[in-house]
Amino acid sequence: MFDARGRANQVSSINKKHRFAGVQSSIELVMLCQICNKRTATIHLTEITNGLRNEMHLCEYCAVEQGIAAKSQVSINELLSGLLAVQPSDEEMFGPSEEKKSCPICGFALDQFRKEAVLGCPNDYEFFENALLPLIEKAHNGKTSHCGKIPSRMPQGAKEQIKLANLQQQLDVAVRKEDYEEAARLRDKIKQLES
């Protein structure tokens, strides 16, 4: 059924349900796998071959056996990419300790973030740092610290510290790119600032 020829004229869609995903499929009841009849079917395959529709409901194990789904690592990370659209519950996402916390300054709690997608006050970044870091990382392509403008009002010491962090970050990039000329320039600048 899944040979190379068959694939050419079939449209298949794999709708993988995950226990963290908030989206409900059209099948609400727990369904058993068509092959083993033991485990819950989590993979629902709709196949249209020459105009004929065929549905299959398989458990993850049998699906892998059948070569339908690659042993999936569709992990929480993957699901979080739909971050603001489909949110896991706070407990699942952040662990039980974060769930009930609320910011002492603005009273903001994480379930509000899920609803509104905005935070309550600048302090939330510090207060909910553990919970927010994975989201920040995801939104900014793996980056979790600032590189760029420093307000002129910052005290001189703090300013230099940030400048140093910025340079260090640029140095890492230069080394990764194997741009050693730039790396040497940055290293000298860092030395100069440190002394």
């Binding site: 300054i105 603005c106 009273g107 903001f108 509000q112 509104e116 997608a117 905005v118 935070l119 309550g120 006050c121 600048p122 970044y125 510090e126 927010l132 989201l135 920040i136 939104a139 900014h140 392509n141 793996g142 980056k143 979790t144 610290s145 600032h146 590189c147 760029g148 403008k149 307000p151 002129s152 009002r153 910052m154 703090a158 510290q161 940030i162 962090a165 910025n166 970050q169």
Partner: protein
């Protein structure tokens, strides 16, 4: 200063000038800022919002921008005025639809606007015609410095500028360019642009709101990552990598139209001319669609020296003596990129109604729009 003082002409950044302006219509940079010592807006009472508004308004109105600046209260503005500000790109749709005390500070020449109490306390933006992102950044950075002299922003050494939504965190910068990509669409390659944008981690939006990009072929392309990369690096990536790549795609598609698909091109341009010259009722959507084709046609004979039969007729139309009194130099008449851009903007619903002096139902708007376009294309006086 009243909105009707600006509503009967296009703004500077939309006048079709500037580097690479046949494809890059305009450049825009926006910075998001929040006041230190205040909550983000979702947790602010009306009183606190008013307090923030008063503080920021005072600072902004005292800036020396080399232009007159004025303030508009968005919460007190009429629906029509709000729609006008959105069409004009002076405020966002989100700001127009928001709640509570909020406003916008605008430079008379519209190169600078500052939204107060949008998603963040302050969102400033600088716009310029053509591909000029580094100039935009230079100017907005200077303005940001001037504001910071007078008021402190929420900032952490670790995360940079703190914004209400973590997706804007860090530099809190958004660079965007408005691109006119009709040939990619005509040759069925617009997907290429979407893929390129996605691969580079960029967002694509329509110019005049959701869904309009398909009509006007005007797309807004912007960065999504704002943390861990400096402002200069983001701007330079746009100017040196992203924009040249997309300009090259569009230029290749324009050449392909001339070498392999002349009939497709000429058909679109002839139809656009015929319809715009004769229609008596025209929707905003249809006008955007047809004007986009004329804009492409003018760029093709002006910049590429192309001379297909339809392009020749379009050029003849554009170069026709304006009127007998010798007022041929009158820029309001005749066809050029500037007049096409003007028609794009001035025939949008809120512009039409504001310039007419009162609200109009859709059919009357369609009639007025068609009349304005006919008068420019047919040189009616």
């Amino acid at each position: 200063m009243k909105l009707t003082d600006i509503s009967n002409d296009i703004n500077e950044w939309f006048n079709g000038s500037g580097p690479l302006s046949d494809i890059v219509v305009s450049s825009r940079i926006r910075l998001a800022r929040n006041l230190a010592g205040h909550k983000f807006l979702s947790r602010c009472s009306t009183t606190e919002k008013s307090e923030i508004l008063t503080k920021l308004k005072e600072v902004l109105m005292s800036l020396d921008l080399g232009d007159k600046i004025f303030y508009i209260s968005v919460d007190k503005a009429s629906d029509l005025n709000r729609d006008f500000l959105v069409e004009r790109h002076l405020i966002s749709r989100h700001h127009a639809a928001g709640r509570g005390p909020r406003g916008v500070v605008i430079a008379r020449r519209e190169f600078f606007t500052a939204m107060i109490n949008e998603e963040d306390h302050l969102r400033i933006q600088v716009l310029k015609a053509g591909c000029q992102l580094s100039k935009c950044y230079e100017q907005i950075n200077h303005i940001d410095d001037m504001i910071e002299q007078k008021i402190g922003f929420a900032y952490s050494p670790r995360f940079g500028y703190l914004t209400a939504c973590p997706t804007n965190l860090g530099t809190a910068i958004r660079c965007s360019v408005m691109l006119h990509l009709p040939a990619l669409k005509m040759t069925g390659q617009i997907e290429k642009f979407f893929h390129a944008a996605r691969d580079m981690g960029l967002a694509v939006r329509g110019l005049f709101g959701e869904g309009t990009e398909a009509a006007s072929d005007l797309y807004q392309l912007s960065n999504q990552i704002s943390l861990g990369v400096s402002e200069e690096a983001i701007v330079s990536e746009f100017e040196n990598t992203i924009i040249p790549e997309i300009v090259e795609y569009e230029n290749a598609a324009r050449k392909e139209l001339l070498s392999k698909q002349v009939d497709t091109l000429d058909d679109k341009i002839s139809r656009a001319m015929a319809l715009l010259q004769s229609a008596h009722l025209i929707s905003s959507h249809e006008a955007l669609f047809l004007l986009s084709h004329l804009r492409l046609g003018i760029n093709m004979y002006e910049r590429m020296g192309a001379t297909t039969p339809a392009l020749k007729r379009l050029r003849d139309l554009a170069e026709l003596p304006r009127d007998k009194s010798g007022k041929g130099a009158d820029e309001d008449k005749g066809l050029s990129i500037t007049t096409i851009n003007r028609l794009f903007m001035l025939t949008l619903p809120a512009h039409l109604q504001l310039n007419y002096g009162k609200p109009l139902d859709p059919t009357h708007r369609d009639a007025l729009r068609a009349q304005i376009i006919r008068s420019v294309l047919n040189k009616e006086t």
